[in-house]
Symmetry: C2
Subunit: 446 residues, 2 copies
Amino acid sequence: MAEDGKPRHRVVIVGGGFGGLLAAQGLRKAPCDVTVIDRRNFHLFQPLLYQVATGGLSPANIAAPLRSMLRRQKNTRVILGEVVGFDLAAKTVQLKDGERVPFDTLVLATGATHAYFGHDEWAELAPGLKSIEDATEIRRRVLSAFERAEREPDPAARQRLLTFVIVGGGPTGVEMAGAIRELATQTLKNDFRAFDPASARIVLVEGHERLLPPFHEKLSRKAKSALLRMGVLVMNSAVVTDVEPDHVLVKTSSGAERIDTETVIWAAGVRASDLGKLIADAVGGVELDRAGRVMINPDCTVGGRSDVFVVGDMAHGKYADGRQLPGVAPVAMQQGEYVAKLIARRLAGDVSPAESFRYWDKGMMATIGAAKAVAQSGGMRISGFVAWLVWLFIHILYLARFENRVLVLWQWFFNWVTRNRAARLITGEAATRPADPRRDGKGSAG
Amino acid sequence: MAEDGKPRHRVVIVGGGFGGLLAAQGLRKAPCDVTVIDRRNFHLFQPLLYQVATGGLSPANIAAPLRSMLRRQKNTRVILGEVVGFDLAAKTVQLKDGERVPFDTLVLATGATHAYFGHDEWAELAPGLKSIEDATEIRRRVLSAFERAEREPDPAARQRLLTFVIVGGGPTGVEMAGAIRELATQTLKNDFRAFDPASARIVLVEGHERLLPPFHEKLSRKAKSALLRMGVLVMNSAVVTDVEPDHVLVKTSSGAERIDTETVIWAAGVRASDLGKLIADAVGGVELDRAGRVMINPDCTVGGRSDVFVVGDMAHGKYADGRQLPGVAPVAMQQGEYVAKLIARRLAGDVSPAESFRYWDKGMMATIGAAKAVAQSGGMRISGFVAWLVWLFIHILYLARFENRVLVLWQWFFNWVTRNRAARLITGEAATRPADPRRDGKGSAG
């Protein structure tokens, strides 16, 4: 209730990622009641998940309780819940436990998950990297493979255990490949007695003819040569055609190749949250793109509804020239801010048509190992150590929104100086049954 | 093989906790090959698990890879495996996957787990605190209870969600009670909209007439009054007779009491590792005490075997006057060191009877909240802030063996200044299905 007794405008934001969080924060002074609904109790800094997956950072270093981030914002409440439907006539969001949350304005920002291009059966064998649980599961598999290799007398089986295949040569794939290679050659250097960890083979498989396809060609080349110098095997124009417990099949221009491995990491495809289809159906006449993203209007609304917004990775937005916006954090953040401003403007009584959302592209970057990166911004392209410093600076700047920023910086610096990765714990239920960590069920954790 | 071609003496240490780790480290210069076998890839600093359970520290802050701790010790290898049997005639240890590891000298140090006094059915409802997974599971339950309370319209149901029962008033119980109370009153202070987190009831149930029974009576009283001042409800001479999903029954001197709660934490009983019985049976004629601990000889050997040692929480050792040694880290550490010295002495050719193990009791301590503790050493007894500084100093000193000591110190200081707990993540599989986190299965993680 507002002070004058009229019910306050209710904004419901589904998803506490980059888009949802920025939308909520943008409404902190607006005369409305904001409800943020998320399945998890924390905001996750996804771009650093690969650091958790390779034992460099702890989950808590890159996640902060949503509630805590929004605690001082008195018009906002956070509820832990899973949205399973929309009733646009009644203007409610339905939660899994049956509760219906009423809204006047709805903002959807539930992101994306990995896609296996019609091979969902690969999901168990080749986990992707979207959640904390994904990251700790990958960490468990990678570290367990080294542990099992230590006890494996057969050289062929050992080499299979020491082979890591990363599918997808975008930023995540490049970062994972570099980080696992460094884990093997530096962090684990003196840890094993039966083999030299540097004998680990890290294979990066990319369907496109070059790595980091959206980057400038020169940076793709730089990234590739940096990875090759580190000892990563890079396969371009190579498509994974089968994933089995003990090998993957890869089709290249020169034929088919079998790679014996027990650890496959999926960094290839993206599929929008299932809520995209639900909202498209509820609104009616709204299309989805091939990855399930909702085709949004220039002001981030959907179809004919001025009260329903979709932002971030679950939306298919466009540049002014009609090209598709990339699925990166800055787009989600800027869309979240844009939508918050738009809602606040309307609440202030200005109902004139909104200016279209314009993405301010500050560029993109990817790290390759501990102290190298490639970055481009407009016409500027940098690589190597300087690019890495820029990468570090920008990430620290964002993490500054978290309360534990100093810790992350310190952990990082510490890792960098010592080449250590302190968080390399094998946790989760399966971890307590070491015989065959791969088959024994689900891991997660710590 | 030694340089002279003779096979080297093989020491197999099962368990990488305090006892096993110290035994291994004590043998670093001895002319033998050491194999440390553990189910987990890390050494865990159990006394700080309660900090993980209440979101103050991340698992990696209190765990370090065993392999990494022993990396510079060239005569030592670490294998990840689960011991399931002993063949003392063949002098081998059998692993779950069928491998047999030969030994000349065997050191067992696999610790203890919680005991439910014949009520194993309570384990699901009232998790104990022995592993990283236990800690993240408790963290998940405690934080989820607050989350569910935020969405619970019924005041009685909400109060039930906001009631936390800790069974057992030893150091772990006292520490948990204080930490959860502080989580509620300080860390979560402004986080919720539907209730005041300070309304959370933390009930500490202890069967003995005072808390911390092994401590001096004066310190027990101090601990109790400190907890009461913080707002913890303390029940003495109270025994839990039933644990159900929505309540516990407690029998006190004045009758039976029902406490409505959905979050129960077990800090009451201890049972030695099952390997205790296995080794006792293998050696023959060796007794176990009521908690399954192996009755050891004064030199930590078992029965008539001079080549089999049992140390730490799985052993029942004695003071010179016949009283039982407590199940605390310093005993395990000193026994580990003692056994290493004994083995080294024998390898050097000195086979004269060993002096009995003598525990050097430096005292004991327990924390109560963020800046209070009780400690006693010999006739000296301290409490309050000074005791807490001593506690902090001693724990930091031990953690200095870990590589991430500076981080832990920093995290602690940071928590202490800000009253924040940065690691309060709800993770694990069940966490992604929020409807009823309690019933949905196993959580763990992050």
